[in-house]
Amino acid sequence: MADPEQLARLLSATAGGDQRAFRHLYDASGPHLFGLLLRILKRRDWAEEALQDCFLKIWQKADTYAPDKGAPLTWLMTIARYRALDLLRAKRPEVELPEDGEDASMQFADDSSGIDPQAGAVEQEGMGRLAECMRGLQDEQRRSVLLAYYEGYTHQELARALNAPLGTVKSWVRRGLQRLRECLGE
């Protein structure tokens, strides 16, 4: 894992237009981003295209990184994951969710008390806390959330992969996230 302080320095120099620092940043973080992109996009050519997009974006937006956005590598990986999701949907439009009912699928019961987000990074708590909360999910909920996270599956792809009706899968994801929220927010 790349040294966060070094990555922060490289990001800062990149923001100043330093191409050499940018190359070092690419060398240090590129394989992490590429691993993510390959996993989600499955195809090397798409992953390479996405990696290129990511680093062009990083070159342009390095100055928007701030430590309160999390560790540098987390920030970079987050950019890559969103890029992968966008590219996946653009390359495979046939798997896009039908428009009807998408809002309803997001409705939560309003009975439980709201948990406000806490400011500041909590990555130090790391996998421990998240893993604990993951264990608190039902198996189907956990599998749905992890497949969506690591494979970039849409609801329809999840339904196919888990051999379950679309509505059921949507509910697994929704309730899984809701329980994670309650567990992580405590």
Binding site: D18, H32, G35, L51, M77, E96, D110, L130, R174
Partner: protein, 246 residues
């Protein structure tokens, strides 16, 4: 989308981060995100809470062609877009790199000519006798925009840098410093320290610095106290190859 309900706001943010917010809903949410700090806060909360999952991705080395494409694009975009401060600096940086390359080329041509010419026997003797105290490297640095000039003498064996200045370089000293750099054989600039805008100075050579075979010196304008990054961030005002004094 009745986005004001807190539970819905949370749910949409979570689904957005996970990726299960799809299609038109995702695009609408992205538009809202640009305008709404409260949603960005929710999204960041989820990004950070789920970040430990990133450890589950296995790093893979990309092919070098990806970098080649990135490099080509960032250098192509610079010439077509309006220069921002960063790009202006970058251009100066590139100019400097080109100058340094040119300086090296000039040196190389000189060297080749030297090699082509059969050296007088006396010189051969001089080369083969071990030099106990090598001569210092000398460079004359003359920034175009002022009367100032600096004779910089580097004595690696004594770990000493001596600067003899003439003329004054206009500088707002409260806000700016001049920083001296040596460009190594790998093209990487290394700081030799902050130097005076006028007058003479002696400073120690930075610890761990090894003199390149063909050093090029340069001076850049930096924030007061020197570059915060360890690499030049401001305009390079002068550049010159340093040669062994004879």
């Amino acid at each position: 989308m009745r986005i004001e309900r807190p539970r819905l706001k949370q749910a949409l943010s979570a689904a957005y981060v996970l990726g299960t917010l799809e299609g038109r809903a995702r695009r609408r949410f992205e538009q809202l995100l640009a305008a709404r700090a409260d949603l960005r806060e929710q999204v960041r909360w989820w990004e950070q809470r789920l970040a430990p999952l990133q450890d589950g991705f296995v790093p893979q080395a990309p092919h070098e062609r990806v970098w080649t494409a990135i490099d080509r694009q960032i250098n192509a975009s610079k010439t077509t877009s309006l220069p921002t401060t960063a790009e202006r600096r970058l251009r100066l940086w590139r100019t400097w790199a080109l100058l340094a390359t040119a300086a090296c080329a000039v040196l190389a041509v000189g060297l080749v000519r030297e090699l082509d010419r059969p050296p007088p026997p006396v010189q051969i003797v001089r080369v083969e006798v071990p030099v106990v105290q090598p001569l210092p490297y000398v460079a004359l640095l003359r920034p175009g925009e002022s009367e100032a000039q600096w004779l910089v003498t580097l004595s690696p064996e004594r770990r000493l840098i001596r600067i003899t200045g003439a003329g004054r370089f206009p500088l707002d000293r409260a806000r700016e410093s001049l920083e001296l750099w040596v460009l190594g054989d790998d093209g990487q600039p290394r700081s030799l320290g902050v130097m005076p805008a006028d007058g003479d100075a002696e400073m120690p050579m930075p610890r761990g610095l090894t003199m390149p075979a063909r050093p090029t010196l340069a001076v850049s304008r930096e924030p007061a106290g020197g570059s915060p990054t360890g690499l030049p961030t401001g305009p390079v005002i002068t550049v010159s190859p340093a040669q062994r004094a004879s």
